[in-house]
């Protein structure tokens, strides 16, 4: 018994950072996901000139807690004739896939559960690809027409955009030359450019494909209320529904993290190699101090004493974190300077991830929903060839700059122009093809396909 105990203790001693990160992810990410729901509701309200949740807690800050408690205690209905085992398994599967893929994501150079694994981002993408199972099995198990149609549509949408998602990632990997998460960020530092500037079309296709992959608007037909009640989630209530939703928001966080790592420079400060912009290092402290000051300002204006106490507590928390950041400033010989990389890296990473998630929300509240056939046409007819052309062009640009000595940026501009030209051509051909197809359908009514064949 004792040698086994020794080996377990030795293991924990070597890997305690990773195990701590693992526990933190399991405890904190569901909490963060529900707060993202709150931010989304507030942003949605703001874009529609209203206020959003304001009652529970000051400015509605405790709304997610109230929602979580309600959902936990809500009745757990399992409809008749539903396949009990799969009904139970499907949301668990969705949630597990979403959270496990967070394991390989590195929030800052120190926070990572799977340290320096060779397949880094590919692990994230691969395990995230298990998400559709939770959807299709849940929809099928509910024994409800809306659910199963929603599940089939959702899965068809997910697999249609997965190729584009893969190609967009390939264009990023061409620039990075590795799949290891930390090495990708390091190459962005040595290349002195975020890859979004070197492969903008790649980032653009990544953005669109992963919005479709996470079932977010404007691609949210499978869960649209006006279409299919709630699609595959119709029969799920209470905590099971919240598992699906948590899985969706955790997927959003994962997608934002992968996009930030690969395209937006990960945890690098903007212009990390430029000395005269080193003043940007003070940005975290200043930002947090500003938020704390704002909370102090609002605390005096709260109607109820409990609410103003809460605001004071939030302000205090902000100032404490700002103080920690100040103590970790580089080249200052202050006590926490050793933790500079980890803390500041985590701050910049989370800032970029938040900006990315805000873009997700912004698109949701601005664009109308795609119809299912429009969605499929976009995925198969336009995005797959565009992503393919982009991969070829990024390869050619890199070869041009390395073989013929053309400046890297000039080569990228040339090939990006070529990709955009190809995109114009694709759209033009697609319009012609769509016009021809619908004209054929209108004139020849004997083309009646048996869509239920099989």
């Amino acid at each position: 018994m004792s040698p086994m105990l020794h080996s377990i203790l030795a293991f924990v001693q070597t890997w305690w950072v990773e195990l701590l990160c693992a526990v933190l992810i399991v405890l904190v990410v569901p909490l963060i996901a529900v707060y993202i729901v709150l931010v989304e509701r507030k942003a949605m309200a703001d874009m529609r000139a209203r206020l959003g949740p304001m009652r529970v807690g000051p400015h509605g800050l405790l709304q997610p807690i109230a929602d979580a408690l309600k959902l936990l205690f809500k009745e757990d209905l399992i409809p008749d004739n539903a396949d009990q085992f799969i009904f139970w398994l499907a949301p668990v599967l969705s949630m597990t896939a979403a959270l496990t893929s967070m394991g390989a994501v590195a929030i800052g150079p120190w926070f990572q559960v799977a340290r320096d694994i060779n397949i880094g981002l590919l692990f994230v993408v691969g395990v995230g690809a298990l998400g559709p199972f939770g959807i299709v099995l849940g929809g099928w198990a509910s024994n409800n027409h809306y659910s199963i149609i929603g599940a089939l549509r959702s899965t068809a949408q997910l697999i249609s955009y997965e190729t584009t998602a893969g190609f967009a990632l390939v264009s990023g990997f061409l620039l990075a030359g590795t799949l290891n998460v930390r090495a990708i960020v390091e190459t962005q530092r040595t290349d002195q450019a975020w890859y979004v500037f070197l492969a903008p079309v790649g980032f653009f296709t990544y953005l669109i494909a992963w919005i479709a992959e996470t079932n977010r608007a404007p691609f949210d037909l499978p869960e649209a209320e006006s279409e299919l009640v709630a699609g595959y989630m119709t029969e799920y209530s209470g905590f099971r529904w919240s598992l699906y939703f948590l899985a969706e928001y955790a997927n959003m966080i994962v997608v934002a993290s992968v996009g930030t790592t690969l395209f937006l420079g990960g945890w690098l400060r903007p212009f990390p190699n430029v000395r005269w912009l080193a003043g940007l290092d003070a940005a975290p402290t200043l930002l947090l101090a500003a938020v704390g000051a704002y909370c102090v300002f609002r605390a005096g204006k709260q109607p109820a004493r409990a609410q103003s106490m809460f605001m004071w507590a939030v302000a205090f928390g902000c100032f404490v974190v700002a103080a920690i950041f100040t103590l970790a400033l580089p080249f200052s010989h202050l006590p926490l300077e050793r933790m500079h990389d980890g803390l500041y890296g985590a701050f910049w990473f989370l800032l970029k991830v938040s900006a990315y998630i805000y873009i997700f929300m912004w698109l949701r509240f601005t664009l109308p929903r795609f119809r299912f056939d429009q969605l499929m046409r976009l995925g198969w007819h336009i995005l797959i060839p565009l992503a393919l052309v982009n991969v070829v062009d990024v390869g050619i640009a890199l070869a041009l700059s390395s073989e013929f000595g053309i400046n890297r940026w000039v080569a990228m501009v040339i090939t990006t122009a070529a990709t955009l030209g190809a995109a114009m051509l694709l759209l033009h051909w697609n319009d012609k093809y769509a016009a021809a197809a619908s004209a054929a359908l209108l004139t020849d009514s004997s083309i009646a396909e048996d869509t239920h064949a099989g």
Partner: protein
């Protein structure tokens, strides 16, 4: 197993346990449910469902799944290529870096164009 994956394995077990434990714990903490059999009928906006859900659906979805499978294999071939690309360029092997993969992608592009023209990608 490379040692870096063991925390990941433990993490995935923990992640699996989290919803399971929560579901089981809250099953006992919840107040009991009341109500008759109507509550457990499948929801169809107030009317009773007439047909069984275990029927047949669009065969198109199956073709989409097959085509996705093939393009997925192609994507997996692209990942190792992308990883070694810059190394080949640094060793002045640009032609070797580009040509084999262009042949591969070219063959599949021919297939894709055929599918497009044939109409297999409509509602696909």
């Amino acid at each position: 197993m490379p040692p870096a994956y063991i925390p990941l394995l433990l993490f995935s077990l923990l992640v699996l346990a989290f919803p399971v434990v929560t579901l089981i714990v809250f099953k006992y903490l919840r107040p009991g449910s009341r109500g008759g059999p109507a509550k457990f009928q499948p929801y169809e906006c107030g009317i009773l469902p007439e047909t069984s859900t275990r029927g047949r659906y669009f065969a198109r979805f199956y073709i989409i799944a097959m085509l996705f499978m093939i393009l997925n294999v192609e994507t997996i071939f692209l990942f190792p290529w992308a990883v070694l690309f810059r190394g080949w360029l640094a060793a002045h092997l640009a032609a070797f870096a580009l040509l084999p993969m262009f042949v591969f992608l070219g063959v599949l592009l021919v297939g894709y164009v055929w599918l497009y023209k044939k109409g297999a990608l409509d509602l696909a």
